[in-house]
Amino acid sequence: MQTRYGVAMERGVMLAAKEINENGGILGKKIEVVVADSKLKPDVASTELRRLAFDENVDVIIGGFSSGVVIASMDTLAEVEKVWMVACASPTVTEKVKEDYDIYKYVFRVGSTNSSTFPADLVAMLDFLNEKGVKVKKVAVIRDEAKWVADIMDQLRQILEVNGYEVVMEEVVPPTQEDFSTALLEAQSKADVIMPLIAHGKAASLVKQWKDNEIKIPLAGLDLHAVNPDYWDATSGKCDLEIYLAPSASVPAEINEKMKAFIEAYKKEYGVLPEAYSAYGCYDAVYVYKEAVERAAKAGEKNPFDTEVLIKYLESINAENPYPGVRGNIAFTSHHDLVYGDKFIRNYICQWQNGKQVTLYPKATGELIIQ
């Protein structure tokens, strides 16, 4: 909760709650937000989940940044029988829903795309670079020592190879690692591009050292911190020209009307742009919850807030009947994952240019600058 991801989540939810309450609440009832902090530890998470369910009697839980913590908590969820709308990326979460629906049906992924969508989009990113004249074939991967990445590495390697790329290096970094000199130098000597896959680790240090050591090859990958508006300051401007993937379009660029309105409202309420990607997803989550409950009431359900009913109507928000959120149309698959696609939610290719975040694809708000 002390991390920016937690702060952004809390603010996104609070903003949505405030807006909804000002417009009459959900079925006339006002939303009350209760906050819990897992401290990114599974044992703390399980205690807090129980407190939320038993003591605070919440109707729905929103959040969940760490895939590892979420996965470790899915059994606790089954015990307390509450729905958790999560913002984490690991495919394992929704695979478990498929494997054992009765126990794990309480989880819905809404705040991020499934990380298995990342490999295809990372390839698209490299293709994009090649199209624009940057010759890229050999890839050096520098990645988190975390579940969300470990789960997709095999897939990423395969899809890169199928598309003519070669993974010449894979460096695993723990979240505490500060010094990337040896990794960067090795990458420079072996590859044409460095692909970071970092959400938990010290990406800012990596980027600073990339610039300071004047590494000649581009940085293009999934640096989750790059999505944060204050990344420019955090890296003292050294993220300039970094190319990155913004998962589930969670970037402060005006890709549609709703996003524009959200960014403006957030800025007005908190004085800053959304600190992290989790703000967008969790904001959407509250509205999705409202939609599900309203659909239930309209269908004549006696207790639209009941967990079993909620699950049924969240599932009704599917590809045929999506809900338009700020990042695109939100729809759930049969195992509670976000439907992926241009008409739904997509990952965006972006670049930092001169202090601003510019989207390059699918909707471009600027042009690629080659270093």
């Binding site: 401290k39 044992d43 205690t47 038993f54 590892g68 899915m74 020592e145």
Partner: protein, 323 residues
């Protein structure tokens, strides 16, 4: 005739009464508190097992969490990969921890006082690194879940009673060890090591045995903890847990049987209930941990013999009663 007697509390009756208190609690308290109390009972075994070495041999083992963690991860992995039933997994975890206790004891107990403390302080870090590096097997810093089917008991109340039973059994075990011939020799070593050697006690052997018993209990407790809360994580190896254990033992009083027990329950409940509530009330999420560390600082400076130690000192100063 004048009989002079010191006022003596009738220990046995008191103890029985107090032991009955936790029994009806699951029916009165909210579920999440009951859950926390069960963990407190298991935590008490962490502390009691640590005190066996610290309080009775005078050696400070700052790496006690190694045994807890080994017990925890071993039992978790056995249950997950080989589907062994909880009881077998927990016992296996305890046994592996004992083996480590033996090896570490043999190597380290011949080191000078503070060197032992320093080496043992670093050991857990090695284990944490391994868990992180081989995160495929061990779950990394995000931990592993062992699945609700493996729980000690499906309901929280059931697990609470099992944890309580475990704590009572452990308490009894330590009581027997400490009050028997072995325990007497340990105390002799603690009070004056050279004299004990001179009287013919094999100091190193006794210390190693104490170390092994301590490791066994901690390993078992680690396993029980995993099957209680359904997850295992590096927190079981970590420094904050070690500090909490030391704080509890110091608070209660090293080397007194009930001191560490009361200390453990008090400190655990203070941290996870009282301090948490305060932290939530003032909306500073880290405040509960901070209060713990500040408490330890105050304790070390003002009351190093702990609650029971202080209690003993006070008692010995009470006037004699005359009839």
């Amino acid at each position: 005739m004048i009989t002079i007697t010191r006022p003596k509390l009738n220990y046995l009756n008191w103890k029985l009464l107090i032991a009955l208190i936790p029994l009806p609690l699951p029916f009165i308290l909210p579920k999440s508190i009951v859950f926390m109390l069960g963990l407190a009972f298991i935590f008490a075994v962490f502390v009691l097992s640590w005190d066996l070495v610290a309080g009775y041999t005078g050696e400070v083992n700052l790496g006690h969490t190694v045994f807890i963690g080994i017990g925890a991860y071993t039992s978790a992995l056995l249950a997950l990969k080989l589907h062994t039933p909880p009881l077998i997994s927990i016992i296996a975890g305890g046994l592996l921890a004992t083996i480590f206790g033996f090896v570490i004891g043999i190597i380290c107990l011949r080191l000078k006082g503070y060197y032992l403390a320093l080496v043992t302080a670093i050991l857990p870090l090695v284990f944490i690194q391994f868990v992180n590096i081989y995160s495929g097997i061990f779950g990394g810093y995000e931990g592993l879940s062992i699945g609700i089917k493996n729980a000690l008991h499906r309901s929280i109340e059931g697990r609470y009673y099992i944890a309580y039973g475990f704590m009572l059994l452990s308490l009894y075990a330590i009581y027997r060890v400490v009050n028997g011939k072995f325990g007497l020799r340990l105390k002799a070593i603690r009070d004056d090591e050279e004299l004990a050697e001179g009287v013919g006690i094999d100091v190193v052997k006794h210390k190693v045995i104490a170390f092994c018993i301590s490791a066994l209990m901690a390993g078992l407790a680690g396993g029980v903890a995993v099957f209680y809360r359904l997850s295992v994580g590096v927190d079981l190896f970590g420094v904050p847990l070690m500090i909490l254990i030391i704080l509890s033992a110091l608070f209660g009083g090293l080397g007194t049987l009930f001191g560490p027990l009361i200390g453990a329950l008090t400190i655990y409940i203070a941290k996870y209930w009282v301090f948490m509530e305060v932290a939530r009330a003032i909306n500073i999420q880290q405040a509960d941990a901070l209060m713990m560390y500040l408490l330890l600082i105050v304790l070390i400076l003002k009351m190093p013999e702990g609650l029971f130690g202080w209690f003993k000192t006070v008692r010995s100063k009470l006037p004699l009663r005359t009839y």
